[in-house]
């Protein structure tokens, strides 16, 4: 599966929304339910699904899909 689809899968599970579609321009404010609690679940879900570890500050700041994909691509995912 492509990086985009895998990421979408994680989002769908965390936000419990099977029809959720991601675009690179999306940020936290575009996705319903992306609050501080969901953010924690999301970051953890991405770490588990992709086998990566965010740094402490990245963990707080990753609120933009394009940036997330760039980060994951940079890790060779």
């Amino acid at each position: 599966m492509e990086l985009h689809d895998r990421l979408e899968e994680v989002f769908r599970q965390v936000f419990d929304n099977e029809t959720l579609r991601l675009t690179d321009e999306m940020t936290a404010s575009d996705i319903e339910g992306w609050d501080s609690v969901a953010h924690i679940n999301l970051m953890f879900g991405i770490e588990q699904a992709f086998g990566v570890r965010f740094k402490g500050n990245e963990l707080a700041d990753m609120k933009n899909i394009g940036e997330l994909k760039q980060f994951l691509a940079g890790k060779g995912k």
Partner: protein, 665 residues
């Protein structure tokens, strides 16, 4: 064996991929079929989720719940649990599920518990416990407890979980006066316990303190009683000592070590959102907390049903013979004896051991009688069933003979086919999947959580003996002529006394978990019992029973309140191990005597029907009470002492101390 396994794994994966394709094409029914073919035991979390989602699309609520809960069995994958809880939560109300208990749980934390809450609910629901959850505001556990008008008390919790962490301890890095500091800190916690007990009916479940992996004084810390490290140890130990019967502890120190302390707390998530326990550790913490709650509610399992060949020893006794089975010698042999030793330890804490084996009886008992390395003896087994019937049929027989529910049983077998049959035909029975390697049997069993007990009483140590006696009595019952002859042949003696302080834990245990012969099912806690004992308007009776076979211990409890000339029965219950032996009449006999002493002219009783206590419905009618009214579904019964005289039981001799007549040693 390995080839078969790989093949099997491949099949499951193929089935799942096939299901994914079908689902994408909107062929949901076919997708479900494909997914079901891919289900392994335990099922994979991802597959459980897919099945739950498919069933949701089909509007099959019961199956959505079933597969959402199956995620708990699939492993401790936080993300899957979180998704499973979302599905379960929005479906459960529509599914019309049967639950064993419904409880209000207040989760009070010293750290962010927003994620722990749902995990705890899911783990509890898996055990049949429906949870209404209250969460304190972040870190507000003390305020909630100290303020009598707090939302906590308005919520009216049945259970208060104190989810707290080491960082919250009021201890300095180094103390000149560690004893005093530890004493003060323990007093802070026990003070909170006491306040909860005074202001609510809740039982407390306290997480103890996981020692951190960072220790500034290093190995030296263990030599310094004043180090925070050693003081934390001391606080844990003292909390254990201080926990009375209304407080249970979850040993987070052990859990964190089991999980790995480096992973138990993730500093990144602590810094970001004050998660003192890492998300990946939450399912484990939730499962253990739920198991402790289940034990408090009397929902733990009581009885292990053990296979023999390749479960208690290596090889097949009927083929390999006494000299050929692996036991005691060699790596596998050692593993089997270690496993048996562990079973004995479980027996000592009150777990009933039974055997269910496809074997000729004469072959099956041989190792128990003759093999020098056998740790388990025939005496340790409450009921020994070796024949060629199906295991589900035999397990039913065992349940019936010992008079325990299927939902109190756990099946232990090395054979996956037998396990599958039992899972399919007896879904109420829990099944432990022993791994292929006998070296890991003990550990696998030790990780099964529903054998938790909330207290140990003298009765627990003797439970298998008592159930063995019961099995013998069932045989006798078959042989004896009339029922009266049978009762007499038991030579029963009872000691009935007011509650004694030393009996209160056992009485609280009985009140907490007796479901069947329980007229009112009022779950009084320790504090309440102590009030009854102090209040002179209450009559309280505890009954101990012996017969020619065994000492059954404290098995029946009655609490009644004098209201002028009427003695009103608040609580009357009897352990199911002595049902059908006329013990009820003995309890009433003693109540009548007390009533007469107090100048009462009538007894009043209430029967409150529940899903489980139908067997007690005729308890009053059988002894000459008359139904005088109803209150909703509750029935009010009355016994006219003046007109009908004292109730007496000819089959049980009431004594002050045990008389060692005929075998009742």
């Amino acid at each position: 064996m390995n080839i078969a396994r790989v093949h099997c794994h491949d099949l499951a994966a193929t089935a799942e991929t096939h299901g994914d394709t079908l689902r994408k094409n909107g062929q949901i029914e076919q997708a479900i079929k494909a997914y079901l073919e891919g289900v392994t035991a335990p099922p994979a979390a991802a597959l459980c989720l897919k099945l739950a989602r498919c069933y949701e699309q089909r509007g099959n609520h019961a199956e959505v719940c079933r597969w959402a809960l199956a995620i708990v069995d699939s492993g401790d994958d936080y993300s899957a649990w979180q998704a499973g809880w979302a599905l379960f939560q929005r479906t459960a109300a529509k599914a019309g599920r049967q639950v064993l208990r419904s409880v209000k749980v207040a989760l009070l934390g010293s750290y962010t518990t927003t994620q722990l809450g749902p995990m705890l609910c899911l783990a509890a629901e898996r055990l049949g416990i429906q949870v209404a959850l209250y969460e304190s505001q972040y870190g507000q556990y003390q305020q909630d407890i100290l303020d009598p008008s707090s939302k906590l008390y308005a919520f009216g919790p049945d259970i208060v979980v104190l989810a707290v962490h080491e960082g919250d301890l009021h201890l300095s890095d180094y103390s000149q006066n560690p004893e005093e500091d530890v004493r003060k800190e323990v007093l802070r916690w026990t003070g909170l316990w006491k306040m909860v007990a005074e202001r609510s009916r809740a039982r407390l479940v306290q997480h103890n303190f996981a020692l951190p992996c960072e220790v500034p004084t290093g190995h030296l810390a263990t030599r310094l009683p004043g180090s925070r490290y050693m003081m934390t140890h001391a606080v844990n130990a003292k909390l254990g000592e201080a926990a009375a019967n209304n407080v249970s502890l979850v040993d987070c120190e052990r859990l964190s070590a089991l999980f790995g302390k480096q992973r138990w707390c993730d500093p990144r998530y602590w810094n970001l959102s004050k998660q003192a326990v890492a998300l990946e550790a939450l399912p484990l913490l939730a499962r253990h907390t739920a198991a402790v709650i289940a034990a408090d509610l009397g929902l733990s399992r009581k009885c292990l049903v053990l296979d023999l060949d390749n479960t208690l020893w290596g090889g097949v006794i009927a083929e390999d013979g006494l000299a050929g089975i692996k036991l005691g010698q060699g790596p596998d042999g050692e593993a089997f004896t270690a496993f048996q030793d562990y079973l004995l330890k479980l027996k000592r804490k009150g777990v009933i051991l039974t055997v269910c084996s496809k074997n000729n009886h004469a072959d099956a008992i041989q190792p128990f009688e003759k093999h020098p390395e056998m740790r388990l003896k025939l005496d340790d087994i409450a009921l020994f069933v070796a024949n060629w019937e199906s295991k589900p049929a035999n397990i039913r027989t065992i349940a019936k003979t010992l008079q325990i529910g299927l939902d109190a049983m756990v099946f232990v077998d090395d054979n996956p086919a037998e396990r599958e049959i039992v899972r399919t035909f007896l879904p109420e029975v829990d099944v432990i999947a022993l791994p292929e390697d006998p070296s890991l049997y003990l550990r696998t069993l030790s990780q099964y959580l529903l054998l938790e007990t909330s207290s140990l009483t003298a009765e627990d140590h003797e439970r298998t003996d008592q159930y063995r006696a019961r099995a013998q009595i069932m045989e006798l019952e078959a042989a004896a002529g009339t029922i009266e002859e049978f009762y007499r042949s038991l030579r029963m003696q009872a000691i009935v006394t007011p509650f004694e302080a030393s009996q209160l834990p056992r009485i609280a245990q009985l009140i907490g978990k007796t479901n069947q012969f329980n007229l009112t099912t009022r779950r009084h806690g320790m504090a309440q019992l102590e009030t009854f004992v102090r209040d002179e308007s209450y009559v309280h009776l505890a009954l101990r029973l012996r017969d020619r076979y065994t000492d059954h211990g404290l098995v029946s409890v009655m609490i009644a309140r004098q209201q002028e000339h009427v003695l009103d029965i608040d609580t009357w219950l009897m352990s199911c191990r002595v049902i059908g032996r006329t013990v009820e009449a003995t309890m009433l006999e003693h109540l009548c005597r007390r009533a007469a002493q107090l100048g009462c002219t009538a007894l009043r009783g209430t029967y409150i029907p529940t899903q489980k206590n139908a067997m007690a419905a005729d308890a009053f009618a059988k002894h000459g009470f008359e139904r005088v009214g109803t209150n909703g579904r509750d029935e009010i019964w009355s016994y006219d002492l003046a007109a009908k005289g004292l109730i007496a039981n000819a089959f049980v001799t009431s004594v002050h101390t045990w008389e060692s007549a005929d075998g009742a040693s």
